[in-house]
Assembly symmetry: D2
């Protein structure tokens, strides 16, 4: 059963699924339960309340759908839109591309705004479209907060500002899969109408819960949206929320207990501390990349991602070979370059319940691999750059002071 | 975190989610992994091969979709049918009712054949419809193999025989959620075109994999079916099967390792032995119900289910009170009566990795509760009836001879 | 690795090691830790405080020795006595026999008071010995609170009363292995000088902690006791207690976290409720034995044990065959008859985190086996007798009211 | 329950208890079992056979005693020696000191040969004692293979050679606690009469099994040795080995299954590969220490330990502060300096199922801490030295080629 065993721990630095903290593994180490007993609704109630805190919303309604991020996308779209509806969607990397593919297959009229991979969403194009759409034909703006394929974080506050400037009623639908609970995300303040994430990202669970939070305007839209949906339909959830039994169909008992533990860990550390820790890990990674003389796929500092860094390799190197060697020789899991950047970038995921020494071990591994594949990096250089930064910024662990 | 603790083990006798064997709990007790490393495709390949054995098919293609049974239903329907297609669907209890509701919301033209709850599908009505449908307007027959709400098992061989008699090309789409891997199910022999089950039923995993197996005619139909679908689309899976990477989006690493352990357990015991064990547990439960002087909701022996027994209580008793007391006083989880039979029946689920003494403990508990709520049962009577049967039919445990 | 797999749960009814609650299994599901970090002393401190509550002592000092009950015996003896010291020891079954063997090999002068197996300690003989020992040559009384081999509980209050009547200073050393945390045990009130138990008994952990609690007189005696000892020496523990680091050598991190969870469960249920539950389970078992027409090995009601019942089988039956069949055919683990009662009794352990339906499942299994081996028991009879008693005595589960 | 939580994984680099591989954690994640059922003897039989391979003996008999290394010491001594027996024992650090303390308290006549801490056993002194002991008054040589406090490995082959040169019959008793299964250890070839280790060291289990392997001469000696012993007596084990039930008293079911998994991992990787991996980790650590400009406590290369490195800090630094900061700020667990070297050294344990990137993460952490406490180390320097060595010596992971 344990195929491909290797000594010691796997160093998991893909941008999801991420490392699961031991506390969560323990919480999920259990038998099934009857989800119609009083225990599961009582548990669910606390989860729904606490998930809202992670999204920084008081008015949103969360749906913990037994699905993946792809399913969460579909739930966000089909509950709020009707076939033929015009939406503006930003293509900036593989995940936004896949979402746009879904939007098109669901028969929306997708107005694609494309950027070079490595750049953020073209918000100036958005502004001109919004400005000219006085008829309000645009029903929704679909945008990834953080493009996992290129390590680009978009400025959502700016999107909201544009919509507000023109008093445009388009729904703002945000993929926060690789951002929420790791990057600064403010659902209510930024007027996000639907936001989604997946359990296997910053929340550090196994895959299996697509978390969708719908704001009041989205709930309102769902009453008239004509896209066919059953499994993903919010209406069934809302009915069972009213009943107090919460589940229209069987949830994963394990993921519910796991989510409880995950939220407890976040609140114990403090959401702002979690976000600050991700910023430290992201900054240190970027300093290491710079020390290695390599380029970050992300083209401007404003788009730098604190959850994933895509590193551009020289043209004479195949980045896929770096990923292969990392796994085969160092038990290190890195992210491949995808689609347009396949072979050109490899990715370091630095999200989840990670600490600084874990990242430094990863960076030391990357240095050895870079040498292995013929790139003349100085061993220890990235580690030194990251350490120098860490040394001055790591706080004492609060529980251990 | 452990709300509602109670001494000793919970006696889980709802018809799903069922008890998870320790071997499976252990297999899932792990960190996440990179699903793009060679390990997960290698594991997935064995799972896809072995799942086919459980369905008794060599020509079917399995899809292990990160969803529930409800999602598996949707995947079966939307990949093979187009809005407006006429389907014949049998309403015999709450789960067939929910499936029909889904079929209608997905805009199929559903020809509902209703039975009294406690009776099987009216196959004579099917025959007359098929006989008269010389124009082949009926595109699919949708039928639950085992209705979990009433404990009724339908005769799928007979359905196939009817279709064959009239050489009718309608697809045969089967909900095997509470049957496959517990009851005798023969996908190829019975010409089932799509069959589904859920991980949390006889396979004894947590909720989270909707297993859909599509036969060649279903795969063919999926090429022209016009129902919109993305998350549930087989096409994306088939593309990644070709690539050898298997997953269009992130699977649950835990459930894959868990499924490996579950299949290993089934093959170690022997699928036919598993089915025989369920028959012993079902028979013994029915003997106990008879000894108590109560009626089985299932009205004829031919429909008796070996995975769940719905027990009818006298009209002066509220069956929901039995379920409540079982949990509050005896740490026993029984199934509620649903919808039309709410308050009238309670259900004993006897599927999964269960043995005889577990069931006898449950039956002893039910006897005490029946007395508690005012039904004059003789304590020990059901246990005696079940034991007398078991004594002569339990084989030695093969690994322990 | 999972040799001898069998469907469903093992029904573990040996009188130790007992079933481990899921909460404890979860707590132990973890990596090692540095036991010299601040975390382990902080944890240990709470354990030492709380263990005293289980023993009902405020003046005793607990030692959590990485050993078994046999080692705990040795620790109790060698820290308080010198070779050649006269001790009075009661032989009433296999475990008291083994302890006496240890006492003799450690070169104490053991005054053995033997009873028929099935009878309690002869306290009248003790009284006459104490009465005549005006020179106080008797240094200690060694007695098992509950003899696990025969299911006999001795009256410790009476022992104390005898010693007090004659103002005899002999130390009272008690083996509480199969009693403490299940039977009523009062260290301070009964003037017990050393009491021991093992983690794998009523505390429901794996084997590995020999818990020894020493009262003030025992601590005083340890300062002059001349038995050689190092591993088992309390002195080393006391030194590290002073230092606040607590451990003279490496403890099992897992068992410490497990013990924390075990104590939490006891306090949540309430120690008195735990004891009452054991009384219910013991009483019900005895009622079943009576209903089967079999004899309890324990010859008088005053000695009845609430943690283990030894059942005498007719002479034409080999009780070992019952135990073998239970495991081979019903996945039920019963206790063998040992030594003098080998082949003559089998034992039902009913201690630990067990509930009523678990016991009823066990009893139903025993009934079938009794028939299998040729004893004409009426199926359901024992279950009926036990159920009738339970029905009127099981309280609602407190957390679920 | 999770006191002192900190983000990410604890970096456990004390020289024991060491990290437990996930495979072993899974194997131990289970309920108790009846150790008198056929399952546990069958399991035990495989363990006893396979443990011998780890010790490289075919003639030794293993005892898996539920105790710690301290108890294993006591078992080795009391089974082979009588009070008053003269033994030669080497004092080279805290653990040999503690063993000598035990030897003295057990009333042996201990001839202590002391070295400076950081030096190996004075084998020239041994030779002169052996040479002059023509009367064979020396009954045993007690030596630690690897002194965990100073990171000094003694040359056991040389000890055997000395004894053989003079045809001296003294027993050779070896503490292999921090060596066996990590360093090259050859029980039969080196004529070791008793060797011990603990489960929580290179075997990577929780604390709780003291593994003692006795060669034929030791077994012979045990027949006449007069030291009192019961819990630690080999005789009781040998009796139960004969009976085929193996256990004189209750073992830890969990540790037996864990040991099975541990041995499987060792054999899968290959014992020689395990030893080579430890050599790589030890060498790299020493290169890093050199790069930092610090001294290894171990004074000569011949004594360098591949399981633990004690690093000497400048006199103006308190090494305990390094250990404290490591835990408080970086979630890194290092070993304290003990006794004579308290405050002067800190220790890096590099034994168990560890890989190279884990060690590099640790080294990066140590560099930051060294700066924190005022030592002018160049960040990245140790990592660079270790990486440069690793790059050329890490083989591809065999299972992943």
């Amino acid at each position: 059963m344990d195929y491909f065993n290797a000594p010691g721990r796997n160093h998991l630095f893909v941008p999801g699924p991420v490392n699961i903290p031991d506390q969560i593994i323990r919480a999920m180490n259990r038998n099934n339960e009857d989800y119609r007993s009083p225990a599961i609704p009582a548990l669910t109630k606390t989860l729904l309340e606490d998930v809202k805190k992670i999204f920084k919303t008081t008015t949103g309604i969360p749906f913990l759908i037994p699905t993946t991020g792809t399913g969460a996308w579909e739930s966000a779209l089909t509950n709020t839109l009707s076939p033929g509806d015009r939406i503006v969607s930003f293509l900036i990397g593989q995940f936004s591309l896949l979402w746009i593919d879904q939007q098109q297959r669901l028969k929306f009229n997708v107005d694609v705004v494309e950027s070079d991979w490595g750049q953020g969403a073209k918000l100036d194009v958005l502004e001109s479209k919004i400005a000219s759409d006085t008829a309000h034909t645009i029903k929704a703006i679909c945008i990834v907060h953080n493009e996992t394929a290129t390590g680009v974080t978009n400025n959502l506050a700016k999107v909201r500002q544009i919509l507000d400037s023109y008093q445009h009623p388009a729904l703002l639908i945000v993929d926060g899969v690789s951002s929420i609970c790791a990057l600064d995300f403010r659902m209510d303040e930024w007027g996000v109408d639907v936001a989604i994430t997946g359990s296997q990202k910053a929340l550090s669970l196994p895959t299996g819960i697509g978390i969708v939070v719908a704001g009041p305007r989205a709930i309102e839209a769902s009453k008239t949206a004509k896209s066919l949906r059953v499994f993903f339909d919010w209406k069934d959830y809302l009915k069972f929320y009213q009943l107090g039994t919460y589940w229209p169909y069987t949830p994963s008992i394990h993921l519910l207990y796991g989510l409880r533990a995950a939220l407890d860990l976040v609140f114990e550390e403090g959401l702002e501390n979690v976000i600050a820790r991700h910023n430290r890990l992201g900054t240190a990674t970027r300093l290491a990349v710079e020390a290695w003389g390599l380029k970050n796929c992300t083209q401007k500092e404003e788009w730098h991602s604190d959850t994933v860094t895509a590193v551009v390799v020289p043209s004479y190197i195949d980045s896929a070979e770096i990923v292969r060697r990392a796994w085969k020789r160092y038990n290190l899991s890195l992210g491949l370059g995808l689609n347009k950047v396949a072979g050109k970038v490899f990715r370091i995921g630095h999200l989840g319940y990670l600490n600084e020494l874990q990242l430094l071990g990863c960076l030391a591994g990357v240095e050895m691999i870079l040498q292995d594949v013929g790139y003349p990096v100085k061993l220890g250089s990235g580690v030194a750059a990251a350490s120098a930064y860490f040394k001055n910024t790591i706080p004492l662990i609060p529980s251990r002071i």
